[in-house]
Structure formats: C-alpha cells, structure tokens
C-alpha cells in the first residue's frame, strides 16, 4: 500500500517533469521566434546586457581568481607525487578554460541573474503588470523574455572569457608567488598549451549556460503562482532548474567536444 502510493507519487512527478520539459521547449521556441521578429526593444536589451554582463563582473572575478589559485595548489600537490610539478600551468589552463571557467560563471550567473529575473518577472505577474503589458499592445515574451535571453547568450561568453583569464591569473599568482615557478615560463607554457578549440568550447559553453540561466528566470517568472509565496517559489525553482540544467548541459557539451 505504502509502496504503491510511493510509486504513484514518483510516477506523477515524472509525468509532471516530462510535461514541464515540453512546456520549457515551447517557451524556448517562442523566445527564439520573438528574437528574430520585430519590433525589437533596444532599451530593454541594453539594460539586460548591463545587468547580466557588467554587474556580474565583480562576482565572476572573485570566483575565478580564488578557484584558479586553489586549482594551482591542488595540481601542484597531486602532481608532485609523480614528480610532475611542471604540468601546473598546463593543467590550470585546461581546467579553467574547458570546465571550471564556464561552469562557475554559469552557476554564478544562475545565482545572480536567474534569481533576479525570476523575482522581477514573477512580481510583475503577481501585480498584473504582465497583463498591463498585453493591454498596451506589448507582447511580454518579446518585451521581457527575448531581450534578456539574447543578452545572456551574447554577454555570458564574454564573462566566461574574462573568468578564464582571471582564473589562470589566480593560478599564476599562486604558482609564481608560493610554489616557485618562473613567471615568464609559466605564461609561455600556458599560452603554448591552450588551443583554439579549448577557448571556443569555453565560449560556446558560456553562451549555452547564459541562455539557460536567463530562460529559466523568465520561464519561472512568467509561470509564477499568485501572491508573495508565488514569487518565492518561482525564484527558488528557477535557480534550482538553471543550476541542474547548466551542469547537465556541461556534461553533454564536454562529451560532444572532448569525448572519444
């Protein structure tokens, strides 16, 4: 009895998950179609670029520099067991650029941007501002969702690029300051080792993660329930969904670029 009820609950939630995947896919499709059809809202787009890109710089910089530093320490410690300490610059570079840069920036953007988009749009929904937009002949998908998602797709790769560089710099600081690496050699080893494919994969991941982060914020905001509780749920749900989807997408993209 308890078991069947438990199974039924799992089944119901799996069904709900499936149907929300369908809804998110439709939402994505609608967002993309609004990006290419006029009218375009330049001011909204510029504001979104500023909010998502510029205002995220401090947190991205901090995250990257500490992670790069810690990475250098770990790799030094691990590689010294095989007397292979010389690989520190190469592994820091590859670790930051291929994985940690995009993932950490993606997660930071999910924390900062997804939550604020979800809360803002959910509040607009709860206070009838979304309805008001419609009555003022303005499509909320075009006015609110499309500019934010487009801005994130464009600007998050830039953040990732900056995060990669700062992360490598964090590794450089620790390696040269604490572990006795020669600065010139460190820079040369990093530059020689990184390939265009590493950097391109990093930026593509940034675009995808940015798109996921903004899309989830908009989706949960637009589908918010009523009242303050609705806004709270939308915000929490959006960050959870964005974080999980970013990590899943990261796995898929890594297998696509570097598998086999």
């Amino acid at each position: 009895m308890v078991i069947t009820r438990g199974l039924a609950a799992v089944g119901r939630s799996s069904l709900a998950t499936l149907s929300s995947i369908g809804e998110v896919a439709l939402f994505l499709f609608s967002t993309l179609s609004h990006m290419v059809r006029p009218p375009f809202y330049g001011r909204e787009f510029a504001m979104a670029l500023f909010n998502i890109g510029w205002l995220s710089l401090p947190v991205v910089g901090m995250t990257a520099i500490f992670t790069g530093g810690a990475l250098a320490l770990q790799i030094y410690d691990g590689s010294s067991r095989f007397s292979a300490e010389a690989v520190v610059p190469q592994i820091v570079a590859i670790g930051m650029v291929r994985e940690l840069g995009p993932v950490l920036v993606g997660l930071m953007v999910a924390a900062r941007v997804t939550s604020s988009i979800a809360a803002e749009i959910a509040t607009m929904k709860v206070t009838e501002q979304i309805d008001a937009l419609v009555t003022l002949s303005t499509n909320p998908m075009k006015y609110l969702t499309a500019p934010r998602v487009l801005a994130a797709i464009i600007v998050v790769p830039v953040l990732v690029g900056i995060g990669d560089i700062i992360g490598i710099y964090g590794g450089f600081l620790v390696a040269t300051g604490q572990l006795g690496f020669n600065p010139a050699t460190y820079v040369r080893n990093t530059a020689d080792f990184l390939q265009a494919a590493d950097i391109i994969s990093s930026l593509i991941k940034g675009s995808v993660f940015g798109g996921i982060a903004a899309l989830m914020g908009c989706y949960f905001g637009m589908n918010s329930g009523r009242g303050a509780q609705g806004v709270g749920r939308a915000t929490k749900g959006s960050v959870q969904a964005a974080a999980v989807l970013i990590l899943a997408a990261n796995f898929l993209l890594t297998s696509l670029f570097f598998g086999s």
Partner: protein, 248 residues
Amino acid sequence: MITFDNVHKSFGPKRVLRGVNLEIAKGTSMVIIGGSGTGKSVTLKSVLGLITPDNGTILVDGKDATKGDRDAFLARFGMLFQGGALFDSLTVWQNVAFRLLRGALKRPKAEAREIAIEKLRRVGLTPDVADLFPSELSGGMQKRVSLARAIAAEPEIIFFDEPTTGLDPIMSGVINDLIREIVVEMGATAMTITHDMTSVRAIADNVAMLHDGVIQWTGPVGQMDSSGDPYLAQFISGSAEGPIEAVR
C-alpha cells in the same frame, strides 16, 4: 458593442463564472457591481483575452474577441487595473506614455511626454510627479497615474477596475466626472467595476449585478432602486440581512 454569451470560467474546482450573458451598447457606460471575489475582474479580463473562458463566446462588434489580429484588437482598448499595475522600472510619464514610446503609435519623446503631462493633469496630478517612480507615490496617486495611462492613447473601449477604491471622496468625484466625460466627449464605450454606489450613480448608463457566477440583474441606472430584486436591493442598502450571505 460587447456581447457576453453564456461565458463560463472555473479555476480548478472553483466555478467563478457560470453562464454570464450581457450586452454593452457602443458609446454607453456599463457599471458592474457585486461582492468581492464574485468574478468581476475575471469578466473584464476575459474580454481582453488575459483569461480564456472555458465555455461561451465574447463578441466585440460582432467579432469573436479571441480570434483575428490581436494587436489591432488591443489597440482599441484601455484598461485600468484594480491594483494599478504600473511598471515600477519606468517613471510616471513613461508609464503614461507607454504606448506612445514604442510600437505602432510611436512618436517623438518630447511629444509623448507632453501628452503624458496633459493626461496627468486631467486626472488631477501636477507635472512635477512626471519624473518620479511609481513607488514614490501614494496608492491613490498611483491609481490616477494608471487611469491616465489607460486613457493616454484615446481608446474606443475603456475598462475601469475599481477606479475609485482607495481615493478620498473628492478625488473619487473628480475621477467619476472624468469617466463620464470620456464616455460623453470621446464617445467611448466603458465598463466599470465598482463597489461605490455614489460612483455607480455618477457614471452608469446601465448597471449589471454579478452574483453566483451569473448576471443577477441588469438594467438602466434609473431603474436600479425600484428593481424589486432582493439581491440588488441588499447590495444597494449595504445590509447584512438578505439573500446574499455575509460570510463567503
């Protein structure tokens, strides 16, 4: 002309509209009264397609409101929302001129601002509020800004959801006169929701009372007091005794 034909709407198990039938002639002012939570706002929102009825049709000038060119359809409407629904990221004048700053009706910024200030004056607000943000205004002022936004593009059909709730009696009088003026001067068709019987008498040509999901009574405002309908009589007198349950 707006026609409701057997309109039904439920939210989950809650049956809100259970067969609404109503006609609003072009250029007239219809006031909808009824207890709170009876579905008056839902009724207005169904016309605009903000809520989709489960059943029944709503015709605007003989055409199904849910079909055809949405932009052209919505361009004919103005709506004042119950809670104001001002955009809090925009200043007061940008809210009022929202339609005039983008889309089909777009015009130069200075001109849009001038129109906005003129509309603000009509609702009894001075130009110095133009550059404030909605959160810097009192509730009553927000309501009036919202009213100015609803009339800014001179719509043919205007919906007012509780336009005087939260205003002092004098400001209510100003808003009532304004709504009357809009209907008479602009020849607009108006649908207003209110609980305020002074408002009803000031702005209505016709009155409809919504109760239990249907239009309980409708007729010209002059016949309201002699309707003989116990529900309407109780609502007008504001008595706790009568067929309408005080506990809902």
